[in-house]
Symmetry: C2
Subunit: 317 residues, 2 copies
């Protein structure tokens, strides 16, 4: 089927992109290769700086420029000890699209806006959406309980979160969590979103820097393969494996935050996602993993999502 040249929403205009499809910034997954590939396909690619030191982030930004002339952005988790250095790197390198998450953007918003950045913050509830708007964010990503990786404590699902955030703020809303195909994109738009942020489907792309074992874990997942655990620390959604089930068991027995921190240790994200250790690592992935069946180039993924979107839209009409 023929796909229109653009989908115009406030989000596509804000980022000057053809399609309001945003590839989530993901640790150990989304470097310059993935971000540039999505940008070239007409979406917004995000370099995930959560697993990068400032020097490496700089390198990825410069390489992304070599691979695309389209806009791309950087996601910065604000709880990182050196978040200020990542932000300075982004500003120094002239990136003008920044997604902030896992923290409060108020501390950095003036610095970013003064540097000419469009700032979008990721929120799990109406309260934080209002807060992001009030400090001057240009848009919010409203991310539901079904999302992979770090998650909010209120467990609000995409179906319930999107319309309530849309009703509460004036800035445009990007839906995230549970969206893996064009049907999900259409559903998010029906709920009032003007863009979608998609993580897991791009994590299983060819340009994703994740380990093949990790990508295959997504492809092999079914509807009930993921679980949200570590709620006493920071909730994280991951595919059930030896490690996740061990945590789940400890949690059922009432493990304290300290006990869970000990059980968690360090480096489990890298272990699963980058090094492919599917037993001991955190296989961070969204609940929509069951919808993902193939590892494809990012450009094909964008194209397929758009095709699915228009097929679903025609069916509705």
């Amino acid at each position: 089927m023929s796909i229109p040249d653009r989908i115009e929403t406030r989000i596509s205009k804000l980022f000057n992109i053809r399609y309001p499809i945003i590839q989530a910034g993901m640790v150990w997954v989304s470097g310059y290769k993935l971000a540039a590939a999505v940008a070239n396909a007409g979406g917004l690619g995000l370099i995930g700086s959560g697993s990068m030191k400032p020097e490496l982030l700089k390198e990825h930004i410069q390489k992304a420029r070599l691979h695309t002339s389209n806009p791309f952005g950087v996601n910065i988790p604000l709880l990182r000890g050196d978040a200020d250095k990542l932000i300075q790197t982004v500003i120094d390198e002239g990136v003008n699209i920044v997604f902030t998450s896992a923290g409060h953007p108020g501390k950095y918003i003036d610095q970013l806006k003064n540097a000419g950045c469009v700032v979008t913050h990721v929120v799990p509830s109406v309260k934080y959406a209002l807060k992001a708007e009030s400090v001057g964010c240009d848009a919010v990503v409203a991310e539901g309980f079904e999302a992979g990786g770090h998650n909010g404590i209120d467990e609000i699902t995409t179906f319930c979160l999107i319309p309530q955030v849309v009703d509460s703020v004036k800035i445009p809303v990007i839906a995230a969590g549970g969206i893996a195909d064009g049907r999900g994109m259409l559903a998010a738009f029906a709920l009032g979103a003007e863009g979608v942020q998609i993580g897991t489907r791009f994590a299983a792309s060819e340009e994703s820097s994740a380990h093949p074992n990790y990508k295959n874990a997504i492809i092999n997942a079914t509807d009930n393969s993921t679980v949200l655990i570590l709620k006493k620390i920071t909730p994280v959604r991951m595919i059930k494996n030896e490690f996740a089930l061990k945590v789940l068991e400890a949690e059922n027995l009432g493990a304290t935050k300290e006990e869970l921190l000990e059980l968690l240790g360090k480096g489990r994200e890298k272990a699963a996602i980058f090094d492919g250790d599917l037993n001991n690592g955190e296989i961070e992935a969204g609940q929509c993993s069951g919808l993902i069946k193939e590892i494809l180039p990012a450009s094909i993924i964008v194209n397929n999502i758009l095709e699915e979107y228009y097929i679903a839209k025609n069916k509705l009409a």
Copy 2:
């Protein structure tokens, strides 16, 4: 705006109703008044037999007939000790639309089909949808994690559940969980559903037999007011109150199933929903409660949902 006379899907055809909007069968909430009001408005009303003895169910069925000439149905939770008596009552009274939940329909399907019933089963995952289809159910309600009251253990959200169930079964799928308005209905259809089952919004209707305190608790809820607890027994979503927070605390400390059963005791659904005890009862309600702002007649609710549906649809186009 003008609302078309019918919305044709396999679900509206299956039940011979004008609009594929199903009012969920809810304990202490949906007697003949609510079911008949929804039927008269062109949707499918369900008498919730979960809080009724067979004699009372018989009375409600007969009264529903006096108040509507349109189709209506009965929801039967199969885990009830006397489920067979409820089923016999439904058959004896000539009701030919039965929704089964909380259990496996295989045991009763032949009896119901031989009596001429259309049988729809409520499922929380792909596995149970396939099972329902394989024993001969005519449709499934795929109910997400955000739904009020009893819930599945896999915590699969409506956004992720609907497309995966739609891709897995040939029978039509009704979406449930998180749907409180026409935007939600449109989103569910975008994901492939052919009908929606709506609980909480009708629980807060004028014809709902619930206590005014309970209805007001829904009206006053925000996006993060509900919580899914009692996971070691049967997961239940309810509005946070003194009782729910007590359970949550016990669960965080690792309470066993036996300890939770003791804490739960008996009669808490009735206490909150029918008697209005908002401190000690289970205020069962969906996560979409935050979207519900007014107690209205069921006919207005149906009409508003349809208006919202068409407004959202026009916006998409």
